[in-house]
Assembly symmetry: C2
Homo-oligomer: 385 residues x 2
């Protein structure tokens, strides 16, 4: 049977049929009144997902493009940047900053660990001359299935005086992330995660403090330029030719999200993540996350049982049950597999995924109480409303 | 009646139904074998459109992103750049180079004129110390409907020793543009023109000489980085998350283009452009292009008859005949309208467009021999095979 594949990777995530169909419509002119109406709605509705009053710029580019926009509009060669790293995507902030000529100090923890706010406090207190201009961090690290305590960390950065730059690519529209209330200076996200549309768009909002730092930036990016792009937001337009069809898809998805309500979206992700973890533990598997209070509700990183390989688990899940889960990245390759529950994922999907995982492990010869995983998922979903 | 709109603007251009439907499929994982197969085909087939053996990088970004990639991977602050400008998009090269800190010398001609190669020779001969590192130019300027003689100009740049950077956004897969044969160093293009897919992807290929200049570039772009992106081409992968659905659409479109054949595509555009110009002149309207040998076969810029406004013409064409043509840009706004014939446009479309233009002008009170335009289009198409 073809076309049955269900993605439970950390992106792209499943896309609702109504979104796919709206995307398949003939592109309209990007300077038309009709498209301007789409943009007006989108620019307004996306603010709720960022929990901000700041303008949200939308780039035709995937998430790394928005990361480049943040760094290339803030950093001058020689600037000091502190990068808090808990995985592959935290590392990417450091790489981009180095590419722009920054002097980057990396604070890195072992895979599966979150950043301890106490350590951040020490690092920032030690910077007595306030040399760090920027601190980068990842909200939800899909590489390890760990969610940082952004609220606390950002408050410490605020106290120090640096500009906080947060990757919310896999947290926005999935996990609570409150830009204005928490005082985040620069927050970015991408389309193919919580936002339920295919990859190709990314988002960025900046605080007044970040805008002031931008004023001092020489040779910023042109394509990802903040001034040009914000000017276009205010005019219900785009600076350059946009991916028209993806904007139309985003419009459709945002209407769906408005209908569900942001609090309900957050709660759904919490319930699904909690249930998957309960199921995984019930069949005797281990989570990569060290302290479950930092476990991501968008993605769960799981260690395979002894003697059964990650490629075999992924292959069986894909071939026999049409479910795609992700391998680990870089040093974690073949050491973990990752089950995404972000975006357009329902209770049925979580139950099916756990059932398929049990079926795969059963076939691969793992000895466990068959059914225990699904039972735990069902119970968890019933108990957490 | 809804959904009847036909775009004859300089992009987005009409998209074939098969491309729209392939785009509407559920996104597949961008690190899957399945997607890698798509990439292999696309990276190979796109070389024909560039007429090159060089690797063609594909960015999830619109054309301006590829322009940024060219400049930000070649220019260091203080470098001397010569920009040959015949309209809005030629001007954009200069702006991006200035943003990266280049010292830009602009050579600009009046709207409707092409660059005279003799003048380029003078400019380059005057640069006795070979200070110009880069010369930028536009192949087909949609702002004015003018096509530069890139072949001759690039040969002069080659003689001088600078790196030629050519915007082929609206020429590739529409007008003959032969990267290797003509010796173009950097050539870029975009998805929503001759390539017949919606906006959101752009392309760049670079010669060995350009790669050598890139080696000297400090703080190049990260997202648009040449090394990272070429490495991914060689691995049938992408550096960052790609706009999966647009790549699948591109794959479908490239198969259609292969079937038609690049020479036939060029010839179709030539016949359609020639026919539209014949029709426009037959009803007494004037072309913006000063010397018709430089007239673009992808877009025709037309002056309205005295006493009839461009907005009225555009409005009538849209409202009564569902055809969208473009206004002029910046200083040319309301002074010209522009009829696109690039991409998925057939003889029937050209005949219908001319008929609708006649009908609109007739309603708006213009006195002319009704039917003369369509007659000229039909004759031109019949005579030029």
């Amino acid at each position: 049977m073809k076309d049955k594949t269900f993605l439970m990777i950390p992106g792209p995530t499943p896309v609702p049929e109504s979104v796919l169909l709206s995307m398949a419509k003939h592109p309209i002119g990007h300077r038309s009144t009709e498209f301007s109406e789409v943009l007006k709605r989108v620019y307004e509705d996306i603010k709720t997902m960022f929990q901000t009053k700041n303008d949200v710029m939308i780039f035709t580019a995937s998430g790394t493009g928005a990361m480049e926009s943040a760094i290339f509009n803030l950093v001058n060669p020689g600037d000091k940047v502190l990068s808090l790293i808990i995985g592959n995507f935290g590392e990417r902030w450091a790489k981009i900053a180095e590419m722009k000529g920054a002097e980057v100090t990396k604070y890195e923890v072992a895979p599966g660990e979150a950043i301890n706010p106490d350590e951040v406090k020490k690092l920032l207190d030690a910077d007595v001359n306030k040399e760090y201009k920027i601190v980068t961090l990842t909200h939800n690290e899909t590489a390890t299935g760990v969610t940082n305590d952004v609220k606390t960390i950002v408050s410490l950065i605020k106290e120090h005086g640096a500009v906080s730059v947060v990757d919310g690519i896999t947290s926005l529209a999935a996990l609570p992330c409150k830009m204005d209330e928490w005082g985040i200076d620069v927050l970015i996200s991408g389309s193919q995660k919580g936002f339920m549309i295919p990859p190709g768009l990314s988002f960025l909002a900046a605080s007044e403090k970040a805008w002031k730092l931008h004023e001092q930036c020489k040779n910023p990016s042109f394509y990802f330029n903040w001034k040009q792009n914000r000017k276009s937001v205010l005019e219900a337009s785009t600076a350059w030719t946009p991916a028209v069809n993806l904007f139309v898809a985003l419009d459709t998805a945002l209407q769906m999200m408005k209908e569900e309500g942001i609090e309900n979206i957050w709660n759904r992700h919490k319930r699904l993540g909690t249930a998957i973890r309960a199921g995984v533990k019930a069949i005797g598997l281990k989570l990569l996350v060290k302290d479950e209070k930092y476990a991501s509700n968008a993605i769960t990183a799981v260690l395979p049982p002894e003697g059964i390989s990650v490629p075999d688990i992924r292959k069986t899940l894909k071939k026999d049950y049409d479910i795609v889960v992700a391998n680990g990245q870089k040093t974690l390759k073949d050491k973990i597999f990752r089950i995404g529950t972000m975006g357009y994922v329902s209770e049925r999907d979580a139950i099916a995924a756990m059932g398929a995982l049990e079926a795969s492990l059963y076939k691969l010869g793992y000895k466990f109480e068959l059914g225990a995983g699904v039972a735990a998922v069902i119970k968890s979903l019933a108990e957490n409303k």
